[in-house]
């Protein structure tokens, strides 16, 4: 059996990885090290964890508008999450991925889910993102 959620595909691609749900909102600038992909804010509950390769759930992008620059740098350095599951379409994180595509860097799929759908995605479980914006996992 599989479980699946149909999201809104913001930027296309296919990916797979373990879900990482952040326990608090994050500012990528001042919160994620662009060279290592590690969560660098000592006040953040996920401090020290690495976002590289994860399917990262970001309900809300808070803080610095330079988070788009950190996202672009993560993509350039190959330290990016495998995919982003966003709760809203802000002009910050998503933009970092769009600019990466314009510069010819590798990009990752970005899917928007409702808050109910985000809550239903199980933390730590290996999921697949399909090219039509579905999030699929064994269940």
């Amino acid at each position: 059996m599989e479980r699946a959620l149909q999201g809104r595909l913001l930027l296309s691609g296919e990916a797979a990885g373990p879900v990482l749900k952040l326990a608090a909102p994050i500012s990528f600038w001042g919160g994620v090290d662009p060279e290592t992909g590690k969560i660098s804010d000592p006040r953040h509950p996920n401090h020290g964890m690495c976002i590289e390769g994860s399917v990262l759930v970001v309900p809300l992008t808070v803080g610095s508008s330079s988070s788009s620059a950190v996202m672009l740098e993560l993509l350039r350095n190959g330290k990016t999450p495998a995919a982003l599951l966003l709760g809203n379409t802000d002009a910050i994180l998503l933009l970092g991925v769009i600019v990466a595509r314009e510069l010819g860097y590798p990009t990752v799929p970005v899917v928007q889910l409702t808050s109910t759908q985000l809550a239903a995605v199980p933390d730590g479980v290996e999921v697949r993102i399909t090219s039509d914006g579905r999030v699929v996992w064994p269940g």
């Binding site: 610095s64 330079s66 350039r76 379409t89 002009a91 970092g96």
Partner: protein, 418 residues
């Protein structure tokens, strides 16, 4: 939803105005589509947060725009860079970082942006008016422009701000639209002691609480003094946009779109209401500091960049006493020039104050490398210092910071919080 473009906008997409403007219009249009806008809006001002070096990718992007003939079409100011161009020795950086940071700053100037290098452009001569459509980056600048000036922008990330400036357009959605600028959250501060409401020390704490509580919602704050200062509002917005995604707030009777609470709420009842007490804010105050150390290794103020009024208060508090620990004051080159022309800069430096311009202590290595405890009156510095500098942080008022800098020991007046 599909974005409808005008004939002129389509000519940008085709590359008729050059390759850089073409790429910028593609990005603006795609974001407009994803954000649910059905058209673009003409803007009259931009503020760019992309000139701070985070890695070579940002330099590649900016230099691509320059090579492709990009030129901003509206008055555009620049946020801080990673170098103090007027005091080069202030910043510790290896040759690669220094070179790339300089190339990035130069690229944005070549695109036609004004070399203001400040996160408080609104106190350096760039002040859009009530109702003006603008595209600003830098989280505090966005909050100030929307809330205090009544200009209209969304929270735009690095790279999007310059794309908007290159085509003089932004997606017509979010805070660009009058009907989306009303508050849905009511915050009543009238139970806080009046002395606290009149004190600068409240505003970064109130802002930190607000951002963590409302996320990206718009609040109207009631009960603050009618003579709440611009610098207090600046501090509130900077803290709220550090802990949250606050792009706009109202202060009833103070900010231009909030003559009263009902107007700020658009005539509707609030969806959430909070009555603040000193004990609620006390928790936020405590979380702004990360150590109980009694010793201070350095003091830093000026996030957002220090204004002339803040320098006057610093001078009043310091008198002619000499600081025992390094005291960094981050400001714009514009304010520094005003200080110099009034003969005040040399006096400040004689006290032991290190004036930093064009940049600040949380965005580039300035503090001594051996780490320690930093004291600040800025909610934004308190938020970003631990991750970005490795220093522990202690929050206090400007008076607390001066008192602590004179002795090297943490001195805080906490009487107002009880």
């Amino acid at each position: 939803m599909t974005v409808r473009l005008s004939a002129e906008e389509n000519s940008f997409v085709r590359g008729d105005q050059g390759a850089a403007a073409g790429m910028a219009m593609r990005i603006v249009t795609e974001m407009a589509e994803l954000m649910g806008a059905d058209r673009l809006v003409q803007i009259s001002s931009a503020h760019i947060d992309g000139c701070l070096y985070h890695g070579d990718s940002g330099v590649e992007f900016a230099e691509r725009l320059v090579a492709d003939g990009g030129r901003v079409l509206v008055p555009t100011s620049l946020n801080v860079g990673a170098l103090d161009l007027l005091h080069p020795k202030v910043v510790r950086a290896d040759d690669h970082r220094r070179e790339m940071a300089r190339r990035l700053m130069e690229a944005y100037v070549k695109l036609g942006c004004r070399p203001t290098w400040t996160c408080a452009p609104y106190q350096a001569g760039h002040r859009p008016g009530l109702g003006d459509q603008i595209a600003w980056g830098e989280s505090n600048a966005v909050a100030f422009a929307n809330s205090v000036l009544g200009a209209r922008t969304n929270r735009y990330g690095d790279f999007f701000d310059i794309c908007c400036a290159l085509v003089s357009r932004a997606p017509y959605t979010g805070l660009h639209v009058a009907g989306n600028r009303h508050a849905t959250v009511l915050v009543d501060t009238s139970s806080l002691p009046l002395a606290l409401r009149r004190s600068d020390v409240l505003y970064p704490v109130l802002g930190s609480w607000l951002g963590a509580t409302v996320g990206d919602l718009i609040a109207v704050i009631d009960g603050l003094p009618p003579d709440t200062t611009e610098d207090q509002l600046k501090a509130l917005g900077a803290a709220a946009s550090s802990t949250g995604a606050v792009g706009m707030f109202h202060v009833a009777g103070v900010t231009p779109e909030a003559p009263d609470v009902a107007t700020a709420l658009g005539g509707l009842p609030p969806t959430q209401a909070f009555r603040l007490t000193a004990s609620v804010l006390r928790d936020t105050l405590d979380r702004l500091s990360t150590t109980e150390s009694q010793l201070v290794d350095a003091v830093a103020v000026g996030s957002p960049h220090f204004s002339m009024a803040e320098f006057s208060e610093l001078e009043r508090l310091a008198g002619n006493q000499t600081f025992r620990v390094p005291c960094y004051v981050c400001t714009s080159r514009n304010v520094q020039a005003d200080l110099a022309s009034q003969g005040r800069l040399a006096n400040l430096e004689a006290l032991g104050i290190i004036v930093v311009v064009d940049t600040c202590i949380v965005v580039t290595p300035i503090l001594p490398a051996d780490g320690g405890v930093l004291m600040t009156n800025s909610g934004k510095f308190a938020h970003y210092t631990p991750a970005n500098t490795g220093y522990e942080v202690v929050y206090g008022s400007l008076a607390d910071c001066v008192a602590s800098a004179l002795t090297g020991r943490v001195t805080r007046d906490e009487s107002m919080w009880s």
